[in-house]
C-alpha cells in the first residue's frame, strides 16, 4: 500500500509539461503504448501528445475511436487489404476504403500533416478533400493503393502549399492526363520527395524539369517508365543534390552525345546513394552511372532485363551496397561476385525473370544464396526465388547468418523436395528457425510436412509474420504454429490441408494476432460460424464466390477465410461475396 502511494506521489509530482516533454522523445508506437499503460495520468498525458498513429488494419478500429483517444494527431498510417491481395487472391471490391477516415479526420485533425496508406482504396474526391482540408499537409504516401486518377493528383498539386512528399509507390492510377504536374504553382518550392514510377503515361516533362529545378531540397525522385532517357541528363543537372533517383526506361537510340551528357550529369551527383528504375536497359548505357556506383547503398535492378556479365560489371563497382534488388539474371556467378565485393550488404532480393516457365532459364541455384550468406556478414533480409534447394544449403545459410531477421524463400514449383536427397525441406527450414533466433518474418516453400511446423513452433519465438503455401499434412501443423509462436501477428496460408481442429483449439490465440488468412484450405463453414460466435472481438469473414455459404452444408469448406481482431465490430462495407460470422448465429436471409 505504501509502495503504491509512493509511486502515485512521484507521478503527481511531475508537472504534465515535463512528462509531455519526456514523452516527446519517444516515437515508436510500441513504446507509446507501453507508456500509456503505466497509470491513468500517464495514459491521459500520452494520448494528448501522441502525434503519430499507426493502424495496421483499418477495420480493427473506427476513425471515431482513434480521434477520441488521440485528439492531436499529425500523422496517420493505415493498412487495408490483406497481404495476399498483392497476388490477386483477394477479389476486387473487397474493401479497404479510406474515405470514412479522411472525412472524419478532415473535421477532427485540421493540423494533419501526413497520410500514409498501404493497400487501400482512395478516390479522387478523397484526394480533393485532403488537399482542401489540411492546411499544413506535407506527406502523402500511397503504397499499392488504387481507385484514383491523375485528376486527384492535380488537386493535391494545386492546393497543398507545404507538400514535401508525394509517393505513389506501386499504386494503380488511372492516368488521364500528364498535365496534373503543372498544377504545382510556380511559387511552390518545398518538394523533397516525388515517386511517380507507377504512372503509365508520360508526364509533362518541361513542367517536371521546372518543378525539380526550383525545389532546392529535392532528395528523392523516381520517374516512370515513360520518362525518356535522353532528357534525364538535363533533369539531373537541375537537381545535382538528389540522393535517390529512379530512372525511366533506360534505353534510347544509341547516340554518343546522349551518353556523354548522361555520364557527365551523373558525375555531378555527389550525394547520390540510391538508384532504381532501369526498365528496358540498353547495356551500353550502363557505364553512364559508374561515377556514382562507389557511393551507392541501394540499387534496385529488379526490372532490368540484362544478363549476368553486365550485371556483374555494374554491381562489382558498388562496394558500399547495402541493399540490392535484382532479377535472377544475376545467376550464381553474379552472387559470388556480390559476396566477394559487397561486404556491407544487408538486404538481397532476387526476383524471377520467368516465373511461369516450366524450366530454369538462368543458372541461379541455391548456391548463389549460400555464397552471399557466407560472404556478407551483415546480411539479414532475404527474398529469393529459385527452382531448387537442399536441406544442406539451408543449414549452411542458417549457420552462416544467425542474424537473419527476414527470410523469404520461394521455390517456384510447389512441393519441390530437396533435389539431392528427395526428402522434404523440413530440416533445412528447421535449421533456419533454430539458428536465427531473431527471425521476424518467414516465408516457406518446397516440400514440407507437419514437422517443419513443429520446428517453427519450437524455435521461432520472435516470429511475427509467417507465409505458408502448399505445405503440411494435417491440422497438427497449424496447431504447432498457433500454439508455439508467441509473437505471431500475421499468418497467411494457402492450399494447405488445415481444417477446423487446430483453429478451434487455438481460438484464443487469434485474438492476440493482427490477422489470419486461409485460402484453399479445409476450414468448414460450421467452424467459421463457431469462431464468430465465440469470439466477439474477432471479425471472421468468409470470402466465397460460390454464393452464400449457408446454402451449403456446414461441413463444406469455405474458399477463403480472413480473421482479424477488432474493437469496432463487423464492418459494413463488405461486397456480396464476403460474409461476417456474427455473434447472433446464422443468417436470417
Amino acid at each position: 500500500m505504501q509502495q503504491q502511494q509512493k509511486v502515485a506521489a512521484l507521478s503527481y509530482s511531475f508537472p504534465e509539461e515535463v512528462l509531455e516533454h519526456v514523452f516527446s522523445f519517444i516515437d515508436s508506437t510500441k513504446d507509446r503504448g507501453s507508456i500509456s499503460l503505466v497509470c491513468k495520468s500517464w495514459y491521459e498525458i500520452e494520448r494528448w501528445c501522441r502525434r503519430r498513429v499507426f493502424v495496421g488494419n483499418c477495420y480493427a478500429i473506427t476513425p471515431a475511436m482513434v480521434i477520441k483517444r488521440f485528439p492531436k494527431v499529425r500523422s496517420i498510417t493505415l493498412k487495408g487489404k490483406p497481404h495476399f491481395a498483392d497476388f490477386n487472391l483477394v477479389p476486387e471490391g473487397w474493401g479497404g476504403y479510406v474515405c470514412p477516415w479522411i472525412k472524419a479526420m478532415a473535421v477532427a485533425f485540421p493540423c494533419l500533416e501526413e497520410i500514409k496508406l498501404k493497400r487501400m482504396v482512395i478516390s479522387d474526391d478523397c484526394l480533393d478533400l485532403i488537399a482542401k482540408s489540411f492546411k499544413n499537409f506535407k506527406v502523402l504516401v500511397l503504397i499499392s493503393c488504387e481507385g484514383f486518377t491523375t485528376d486527384g493528383l492535380a488537386s493535391i498539386a494545386a492546393n497543398c502549399r507545404n507538400l514535401r512528399e508525394l509517393d505513389l509507390r506501386e499504386s494503380e492510377v488511372e492516368d488521364i492526363c500528364g498535365h496534373w504536374l503543372s498544377h504545382f504553382p510556380d511559387s511552390y518550392t518545398s518538394l523533397v520527395s516525388l515517386n511517380i514510377s507507377c504512372l503509365a503515361n508520360e508526364v509533362n516533362f518541361p513542367a517536371l524539369e521546372r518543378l525539380v529545378s526550383r525545389c532546392p531540397n529535392m532528395h528523392t525522385l523516381r520517374l516512370n517508365r515513360a520518362a525518356p532517357l535522353d532528357k534525364l541528363a538535363n533533369l539531373l543537372r537541375g537537381a545535382p543534390q538528389l540522393v535517390e533517383l529512379g530512372t525511366g526506361a533506360y534505353t534510347s537510340e544509341m547516340r554518343p552525345e546522349v551518353f556523354t551528357n548522361l555520364a557527365a550529369a551523373f558525375s555531378g551527383c555527389k550525394q547520390m546513394k540510391g538508384l532504381s528504375g532501369f526498365w528496358d536497359v540498353l547495356p551500353s548505357y550502363l557505364p553512364a552511372v559508374y561515377p556514382v556506383c562507389s557511393r551507392l547503398t541501394s540499387l534496385n535492378l529488379s526490372y532490368a532485363t540484362i544478363q549476368s556479365p553486365d550485371l556483374i560489371k555494374l554491381v562489382g563497382q558498388c562496394q558500399s551496397l547495402q541493399r540490392l534488388w535484382v532479377l535472377d539474371y544475376i545467376e550464381d556467378a553474379g552472387l559470388d561476385m556480390l559476396a566477394a565485393s559487397c561486404k556491407d550488404l544487408r538486404e538481397l532480393r532476387v526476383f524471377p525473370s520467368d516465373p511461369f516457365g516450366l524450366e530454369a532459364n538462368v543458372a541461379l541455384t541455391e548456391q548463389g544464396l549460400v555464397s552471399v550468406s557466407e560472404g556478407c556478414p551483415k546480411l539479414h533480409s532475404v527474398l529469393y526465388f529459385c527452382r531448387q534447394m537442399t536441406n544442406a544449403a539451408l543449414n549452411t545459410i542458417a549457420r552462416n547468418r544467425p542474424n537473419m531477421t527476414r527470410f523469404r524463400l520461394c521455390i517456384i514449383e510447389p512441393r519441390t523436395p530437396d533435389y539431392l536427397t528427395l526428402q522434404s525441406l523440413d530440416s533445412g527450414f528447421g535449421a533456419i528457425v533454430e539458428h536465427c533466433k531473431d527471425l521476424q518474418r518467414l516465408s516457406l516453400s518446397g516440400l514440407l510436412t507437419d514437422r517443419v511446423f513443429e520446428h517453427i513452433g519450437t524455435y521461432a519465438k520472435k516470429l511475427e509474420m509467417l507465409s505458408v503455401a502448399f505445405a503440411g499434412d494435417s491440422d497438427l501443423g497449424l496447431h504447432h504454429v498457433l500454439s508455439g509462436c508467441d509473437n505471431l501477428r500475421k499468418l497467411e496460408i494457402r492450399d494447405c490441408p488445415f481444417g477446423d481442429k487446430a483453429l478451434l483449439a487455438n481460438a484464443a490465440k487469434l485474438e492476440t494476432m493482427r490477422s489470419l488468412w486461409m485460402s484453399s484450405c479445409s476450414v468448414s463453414y460450421g467452424a467459421c460460424k463457431l469462431l464468430g460466435q465465440k469470439l466477439p472481438r474477432l471479425n471472421v469473414e468468409v470470402i466465397d464466390e460460390r454464393g452464400p455459404p449457408n446454402l451449403r452444408p456446414d461441413s463444406n469448406p469455405v474458399e477463403k477465410l480472413y480473421i482479424y481482431r477488432t474493437i469496432s465490430g463487423p464492418r459494413l462495407d463488405m461486397p456480396g461475396y464476403v460474409w461476417t460470422m456474427e455473434d447472433d448465429s446464422a443468417y436470417l436471409e
Binding site: F84, D86, F87, N88, L89, P91, E92, G93, S144, E170, C198, R225, A249, T251, E253, M254, W279, D280, L282, P283, S284, S302, Y303, T305, I306, Q307, F351, S353, D354, P355, F356, G357, N361, F385, C410, E413, P414, R415, T416, P417, S443, L447, S467, A469, F470, D473, R494, D495, P497, S520, S522, E545, R546, G547, R552, N556, P557, P575, G576, Y577
Partner: protein, 239 residues
C-alpha cells in the same frame, strides 16, 4: 492463317453450352483446364457460351469436391501444370511491369521471352454493385472465361440468364433475338476503344486486345451499335 485441316463444319462453329462430360476447371486455381476439344483446334470452333449459366448445386458440389481432392493429393506428386492463381507470389504490379515491353531499337537482348504476361482486365456487370478483375491469361478458352464469370457474378444473379439454349452465330435472326432480349451478354472494349461481343475473334487475339469486360443486357449491346454482320462474316474466315 493456315487451316487446321478441318473444313468449316457447321457442328464446329455451333456454340455449345457446357463441356462434354461436365467438370472443367474454369475460374482461378482450377487444375483441370483441358477440354476434350482443345487438341490443336483454334478459333470459332472453340466453345463460346454467351449465356452465363448459373451452375446447379450439384455441379458446384462436384467442383468443390474435386478441388479438395487436388489439395489432399499425395504431396510428392506435383499439381497439374495449369497456372495457379497467385503462384509463384509475384506481385500483380511486377507482373504487369515485366509484361509491357518497349521497342528496343538497338541490341537484341535476351529479354524475358517466356514470361507469361498477366492480362488483368476489369469486369463489370450491369446492375452489380462491384467490379471484378480477372487475369485473362488464366484461361485457355472462352468457355473457361465464361464459367469463371458466371461463378463470379452468381451471387448477384437475378435469374435473368434464361434457359433459351445455345447461341447460334450462324442464325442471324436468333442472334438478333438474343440481343433484343434482357439476356446478359458479355462484351469487351478492345484496344481501339470499340465495344465488341465476346467471342468474335480467336481466343488469343481476344486476350491480346481486350482492355475491359462488361456484361450487359443484350438489348443494350444492340444499342452500342455492334455490327453483327462483321461477326457473321468473320465466322467464315479460314485459318
Amino acid at each position: 492463317m493456315a487451316t487446321m485441316g478441318h473444313g468449316l463444319n457447321l457442328k464446329e462453329t455451333e456454340l455449345c453450352l457446357g463441356l462434354p462430360g461436365g467438370g472443367g476447371g474454369g475460374g482461378g486455381g482450377g487444375s483441370e483446364v483441358e477440354t476434350p476439344r482443345a487438341s490443336g483446334k483454334r478459333g470459332f470452333s472453340e466453345t463460346v457460351d454467351l449465356k452465363l449459366n448459373l451452375q446447379t448445386k450439384e455441379d458446384l458440389n462436384e467442383k468443390s469436391a474435386s478441388k479438395e481432392k487436388t489439395l489432399l493429393k499425395d504431396p510428392a506428386k506435383p499439381p497439374a501444370k495449369a497456372q495457379v492463381v497467385g503462384w509463384p507470389p509475384v506481385r500483380s504490379y511486377r507482373k504487369n511491369m515485366m509484361a509491357q515491353k518497349v521497342n528496343n531499337t538497338e541490341d537484341t537482348e535476351k529479354t524475358t521471352s517466356n514470361t507469361t504476361a498477366a492480362a488483368f482486365v476489369k469486369v463489370s456487370m450491369d446492375g452489380a454493385p462491384y467490379l471484378r478483375k480477372v487475369d485473362l491469361t488464366m484461361y485457355k478458352t472462352y468457355k473457361d472465361l465464361s464459367d469463371a464469370l458466371a461463378k463470379m457474378f452468381s451471387s448477384f444473379t437475378t435469374g435473368n440468364y434464361g434457359a433459351q439454349g445455345m447461341i447460334d452465330f450462324m442464325n442471324e435472326s436468333k442472334l438478333m433475338d438474343l440481343l433484343n432480349s434482357s439476356e446478359y451478354v458479355p462484351t469487351y472494349e478492345d484496344k481501339d476503344g470499340d465495344w465488341m461481343l465476346v467471342g468474335d475473334v480467336p481466343w488469343e487475339m481476344f486476350v491480346g486486345s481486350c482492355k475491359r469486360l462488361r456484361i450487359m443486357k443484350g438489348s443494350e449491346a444492340i444499342g452500342l451499335g455492334m455490327h453483327l454482320s462483321i461477326y457473321l462474316a468473320s465466322i467464315f474466315w479460314n485459318y
